[in-house]
């Protein structure tokens, strides 16, 4: 088991290193930050000064070496646009993203898991079909549309909730719901298929043959065995939305890292693009790793191998 964790840890490190290099290369090919930082009237000397000041006059491989070296020490450099270190900008925004993601995932769990379980148990019935249609709907509606519709209905028409902004619980409801649409859809469908698999297992059939009441079969045998996979799915969804709630954060003017990454891409703010992407990737990888460890710790079959 120890060896397995070490191997997974090393794999994660390679993934992170890959992300660091790839974000570096991609951000360099998408445009020139100097062109965006200065007004059109700026003089050539001013452009040259800024290019030098940002270290963009050095050859690309040298920039990469310096960059990787600094990132290893947790330093992503200074933002080109903001007068602040890129790391600090991301760090300031992270709590907002975590807050939004946790609430969204909680909302999603509350809806999606019961929906998935019921659909599986009532497989083929009208309930199952309605449940899965809802899930499909949730997966297909764009966050952009869902967000604007929620604002229109609950803020403008009904006046129950604020349209946007960062603050207490009433501010998080609409953006979290928007995100939860997507998260619950995936969670519900995966829960359903996992419960279905478990329902087909021999131990479930034996339990039923033994005359164990259906409720006990479901809770003790089916859910207990599918719980770990569902946990897995939910954790990965969380990892995805922490850095990936770009559109939702944008619509609700939520000060998270998703919106920060979008703004930094628009302004070609390389250090911030790199910091947001690398940190979002780091969170995802860490969650993945933790899920794997939990998996081994709880599943005796994996432990044996």
């Amino acid at each position: 088991m120890g060896a397995y964790i070490v191997r997974r840890f090393l794999q994660s490190l390679i993934v992170i290193l890959g992300v660091i290099v790839i974000t570096f290369i991609i951000s360099r090919v998408i445009g020139d930050p100097v062109a965006l930082l200065l007004p059109p009237e700026a003089s050539p000397e001013q452009r040259a000064y800024l290019t030098k000041d940002l270290g963009l006059d050095r050859p690309l491989y040298l920039q990469l070496v310096v960059y990787v070296g600094k990132v290893m020490k947790g330093d992503f450099g200074h933002s080109f646009r903001h007068q602040e270190s890129a790391m600090k900008l991301v760090w300031e925004r992270l709590p907002a993203s975590l807050y939004l993601s946790f609430v969204a995932v909680l909302f999603a769990i509350g809806v999606a898991i019961p929906l998935g379980i019921i659909s599986a148990i009532k497989r083929g019935t009208i309930i199952d079909r309605i449940g899965m249609t809802l899930a499909l709907f949730g997966q297909s509606i764009p966050a952009f549309w869902a967000g604007i519709m929620l604002i229109f209905i609950f803020a403008v028409q009904l006046g129950w909730l604020p349209p946007s902004g960062y603050g207490g619980f009433k501010y998080v409801i609409l953006p979290a719901t928007t995100l939860a649409f997507f998260v619950s859809a995936a969670t519900a469908r995966l829960t359903r298929s996992n419960v279905l698999d478990a329902l087909d297992m021999d131990y479930v059939r034996y339990a039923r043959l033994k005359g164990v009441p259906e409720f006990v079969v479901i809770t003790r045998h089916v859910l207990r065995n599918t719980f770990i996979t569902i946990f897995n799915i939910v954790a990965l969804q969380l990892g995805l939305v922490i850095g990936g709630a770009v559109i939702t954060e944008f619509i609700f003017s939520w000060p998270g890292i998703g919106r920060l990454s979008l703004e930094s891409i628009y302004s070609r703010d390389y250090p911030v693009i790199q910091a947001t992407v690398v940190i979002a990737a780091l969170i995802f990888v860490v969650i993945n790793l933790l899920v794997d460890i939990v998996y081994i710790a709880t599943d005796p079959r994996v432990k044996k191998n």
Partner: protein
């Protein structure tokens, strides 16, 4: 005594808000973007300059017509063509009580010019050679050459910073806790969420009428609109034309529409050899565009046809020039004359940079197809597009906007027609000579005459497809009094009040 009484009555009459004294209420403003830092010298966007206008003050500000109006400066005198003397207003204090003196003005100008500051507008002040302190309330500014625009430069930028505070506490501290001498004091800034300001009761022009001002960056247009509709914010900027009707007729909300200083054009690359070097082809490109239809249908009426690229806001605007008419037959004829019956052009357009930019470019492409021009239509994201534009790599034609800066034709013309400019795609020695002449001439009459001459030649040569001047829409809650939307996207809040 009587004299004072009379004076105060006149003051009350002119500025009724002042007597009501004590600032009250809260005003929340939603703009599309946030600040990048709290140092005005680092700011390049109008959203940021609106914060600067609230916390800081300049020597001059522009009135809505673009004339410089004295603020911290009370008078100016030309000592010789390259030396100006400015007298400063006395008795003004920064938010910490320090007096505003010539030292602060000199310090601020030098701060903008210091390459380390990286002020986006440093090039606007490059012409300044020296700032000399004569006494506490007098400065002399020496320029490299005679500069008719110096006052306008000071109305555009150079927010006066507290030199003593910055020197004593350090620049880093200033960035966290800035003070100025403007009508509002800095309270708090939470990045991407809110900026909070509070009335500065000792403001030299009398206390502002609002107690608390909150700026909120809300990037999505629809969300900004919803915030105004629900009363969470009082003023919103940049309402796109297709959302304006949603607001019109809503109780409690006014829509203020003003002609913007931004002019939209279609660049023509005349530097690369090919058909676009032929004047007749460029004129044909102008005649083939139905500007009225674009404004009516695509912009839903939010635009004004332009004859050239200088709008009425600018000094040097020539009202005698009328826009190219829509004449597809003439366009075809001109193309035939030039021998390019089956002309092919690339039409580039950014997406999401200007109001309805992509849709406007699409409409133009359609109109070109109608006169037999084959169009290769390319839409790109702004950051990618501007890289080519500045690198002189733009192929054939491309949509571009030019904003209002100093209410003068010089900036706009130099940007496009001075060979060294990064944006120059049309070079003509005669136009260049006139531009330089006008730039350093101290006679308004001569300048006007020169700009008129330049305008006529530009119109004739058609180095652009001239399109339109945008119209901006602002949403303002009826609770807000005395707020006036301006063509330069800026606002000054010291006379604005808000009703509960």
């Amino acid at each position: 005594m009587k004299k004072y009484l009379l004076a105060s009555i006149i003051v009350c009459f002119l500025f009724p808000g002042w007597v009501l004294a004590a600032p009250k209420g809260k005003l929340t403003i939603a703009q599309g973007t946030d600040l990048t830092s709290l140092d005005p010298a680092r700011h390049g966007t109008t959203s940021e300059m609106n914060y600067d206008n609230a916390v800081f003050d300049k020597l001059y500000i522009f009135d809505v017509q673009g004339n410089p109006v004295p603020r911290l400066a009370v008078s100016h005198k030309m000592i010789n063509p390259t030396t100006w003397e400015f007298k400063l207003r006395r008795g003004i204090k920064f938010h910490n009580g320090d007096p505003v003196t010539a030292t602060d003005v000199k310090f601020s100008i030098e701060h903008y010019l210091d390459p380390k500051t990286k002020s986006p507008f440093a090039s606007f002040f490059k012409i300044i050679k020296e700032v000399k302190i004569i006494d506490d309330y007098t400065i002399q500014v020496t320029t490299d050459k005679s500069d008719p625009l110096l006052q306008k430069r000071f109305a555009f930028q150079i927010f006066i910073l507290p030199s003593k505070y910055v020197k004593e506490k350090g620049y880093e501290h200033f960035l966290k806790q800035p003070i100025g001498c403007g009508p509002f004091k800095f309270v708090e800034w939470v990045r991407a969420d809110r900026l909070v300001l509070e009335a500065y009761e000792d403001y030299w022009a009398g206390p502002p009428l609002i107690k608390t001002v909150v700026f909120r960056p809300i990037p999505e247009d629809t969300t900004r609109l919803a915030e105004l509709q629900t009363g969470m914010v009082d003023i919103i900027v940049n309402i796109p034309p297709f959302l304006v009707n949603q607001l019109k007729g809503q109780p409690g909300i006014d829509v203020q529409s003003v002609p913007s200083g931004r002019v939209i054009l279609l660049y023509i690359n005349t530097l690369a050899p090919g058909p676009l070097q032929d004047k007749r082809v460029r004129q044909a490109l102008n005649y083939a565009v139905d500007k009225k239809t674009i404004i009516d249908k695509v912009l839903m009426g939010s635009g004004f046809q332009m004859a050239i690229n200088v709008p009425p806001y600018d000094f040097g605007y020539d009202p005698a020039l009328k826009p190219y008419s829509y004449d597809p037959e003439k366009a075809k004829k001109l193309l035939a004359e030039a021998g390019y019956k089956d002309l092919k052009v690339v039409l580039n357009s950014p997406s999401g940079r200007y109001v309805m930019d992509k849709q406007v470019a699409e409409a133009i492409a359609g109109m070109y197809e109608k006169v037999g021009i084959k169009v290769d239509f390319k839409i790109r994201e702004w950051g990618d597009y501007v890289k080519d534009l500045l690198g002189k790599k733009l192929v054939d034609t491309g949509l571009i906007g030019s904003g209002l800066v100093m209410y003068d034709a010089d900036g706009r013309l130099s940007l496009y027609f001075i060979k060294d400019s990064a944006f120059c795609y049309y070079a003509d020695p005669e136009i260049e000579k006139w531009i330089i002449e006008a730039r350093y001439s101290m006679e308004d009459k001569i300048r006007k005459e020169l700009y008129s001459r330049i305008s006529k030649k530009i119109f004739e040569e058609a180095p652009f497809v001239f399109l339109y001047q945008q119209q901006d829409h602002w949403g303002v809650s009826k609770k807000v009094k005395d707020f006036q939307a301006r063509g330069d996207e800026l606002f000054y809040l010291y006379r604005v009040s808000v009703e509960k």
